[in-house]
Symmetry: C3
Amino acid sequence: MTRGAHRAENTPVEPDLVRTSEGMSCMSRTPPDYLTATQEALEAVRSTSPLVQCITNSVVVGFTANALLAVGAAPAMVDIPVEAGMFAGVASGVLINLGTCREEQRAAALEAAPAATAAGTPWVLDPVAIGALPVRTPLAHTLRDLGPSIVRGNASEILALAELGSGGRGVDSTSSVDEALTAAQLLARVSGGAVAISGATDVVTDGVSVVRLSNGHPVLTKVTGGGCALGAIMAAFAAVTPDSLTAAVAATSVYTVAADLAAERSALPGTFAVALLDALSEVSVDDIAARAVLA
Amino acid sequence: MTRGAHRAENTPVEPDLVRTSEGMSCMSRTPPDYLTATQEALEAVRSTSPLVQCITNSVVVGFTANALLAVGAAPAMVDIPVEAGMFAGVASGVLINLGTCREEQRAAALEAAPAATAAGTPWVLDPVAIGALPVRTPLAHTLRDLGPSIVRGNASEILALAELGSGGRGVDSTSSVDEALTAAQLLARVSGGAVAISGATDVVTDGVSVVRLSNGHPVLTKVTGGGCALGAIMAAFAAVTPDSLTAAVAATSVYTVAADLAAERSALPGTFAVALLDALSEVSVDDIAARAVLA
Amino acid sequence: MTRGAHRAENTPVEPDLVRTSEGMSCMSRTPPDYLTATQEALEAVRSTSPLVQCITNSVVVGFTANALLAVGAAPAMVDIPVEAGMFAGVASGVLINLGTCREEQRAAALEAAPAATAAGTPWVLDPVAIGALPVRTPLAHTLRDLGPSIVRGNASEILALAELGSGGRGVDSTSSVDEALTAAQLLARVSGGAVAISGATDVVTDGVSVVRLSNGHPVLTKVTGGGCALGAIMAAFAAVTPDSLTAAVAATSVYTVAADLAAERSALPGTFAVALLDALSEVSVDDIAARAVLA
């Protein structure tokens, strides 16, 4: 794993890299040119308006729906038992975020994840604040084993999801992105999907390739839902992108380039949050070309 | 019904139309001049600040409270069992929105609806995303039979509430407003109240009269709660307006004229949502006179 | 009590007042110079970023988290049973707000309050809309008896918490701040903490001293969460301020001075709410010195 990851890390946008991974069935595929793939995914989200089911926390649920609408997707916060599993079979993508996972949401999550997998619907797991908290942590581990297409979290959450760390300080990470990279690669190998670690530089991996994205602005950490909404947008991009790694990279790039644009308008948190929604609706494929910093 | 509806449809603002409906006790009343009635209702909301109880979804609950405050009403999100029924007896109006109807909210709704009816409190039903979803759909049918003063939904939801359609795509309608008009008229006849169908042109009917309102802006569909907040505002207007049809028309007119004003400030979703709250607090009777498009 | 309160009321910022209270163990302490203490507390919040656990209502939870982030604190909305009590032991401060207290939140509150007390963590009780409502009212009385560091409410809520009134009109007070002052002093004596009554002039008391704060703007009452967010900010300030009275005064002063700054930008509710978050992140110790009106 180390060797493969290292190799990919140095050539993340190399278009003809043949990746081989012991943890996956032996396969050969050509990683996309991430910039072009991001532009195509953005256009596909806007033209097809994927229906994204969100089982997410009460703090960010409104902002998340607005972010999905702004970028061109269609939110549907179907998060009650019986309906959640059924809906996951018809949704284009699913987000499961454990931020305030009350009992009905926990049941809904345990319905939706396998239903999504059974229907071939991509789903994203955001294990908010796991580590020491005794309800969400085992739930996150259970969901992890159901094979999320994408896992998104900060370094402490990724370490805790891999059972290699005890979590952060509430929703804040106490570990660095680099400390969590090996855990992220391990998780991705096991799930067969992608894992994204948020930080000043965001890192996305499928266990082999490692892509680093350096857009965004510190004020994003001063807006609640700044990270959670990205999880929903990843589900939207996964709905139009066959490859989970590419979907996570594309969503991160679009979201953080939009954050750059918004921060130019204002780096104060209230105005920035409003400008971010505007920017998500305006960000163009040319903006992505001009601003995206991937390595 | 068809004849009566047709007649009314062609003369929606005719002031001396005598309506007769087989489904209601035979009665004669003079439909108001909607423009004047809307202006009076807006002033009455601002001067009396009706207390509007909302049992609504977690996505839009904050925006809904802010919209009520902006227009001059007083929100009270009392949505837990035991309290909900009691409060419905003292509130000025009640909204029941099924968007994320967890178990306690379902019990609260089933308390509040009959309590409101018993107290003579007008109440609004917003059957969000009903059709195929197996929890909210039968609940909406039960509530429908309790006689809501106003039903508000998109075309797919109105068809599903009348058991004439299988619902839309999540919260999005897959049917046109005109396709749902007969269903709306049927529902209104049975409930004795009004039914409002949201769309590019909004249509409100009491089963006989049909009023079409053509204000608003497409960006309203890019803001979560754009429709749900209108349901709450309908409850506020119903609290100060004896006639449900007039209340629904007045609330729709005020809300969509405010949306017009806001869209002139910005048609980007983040800025627009903020401007909409500003506009709801500023919209004047003169704005209504100058801009309202009713037919 | 009356005499002591009266004396303190006339000399609230007298730096060397020796207070004696029959209801507390006899003690002597020097009340701080509130202006300096407020400035120091603001700097301490920003430099230490206290972790504030919120068990709060669904209407304001997002705005509350954003307000905490803006002022420099770290929100953590851990509000489910089992986790809530555990987290209260590690949080820097806790807010319990009863606005939409569903069953799990009620259990969470009853875990968190004693856990916070046991850990020496300051906690704030906001008894939203208590009085006649039969679920939240007895819960608020139970929590009151667990010794909140700070109670925050409008006059009707404070009277109802002291069992001296029957509550207001939903979330609106029907009593004046002065009518509630004796009740506030009684509550503070019993709890050993501070009680803040919100109004055009905010009043904070520890049962002896009475501080009146006259910043803020009427538009604050047109934004949902305008008061609820202050409860969370009080918990943040209590985390960095040993004295509950000083913490409540400092939080109120910072928050209402920020509201003054925001209202200069716009007194329309949508724009104001955004500007308030900006102002909370920008408000400086010099702004406090120049604008705070305490007596």
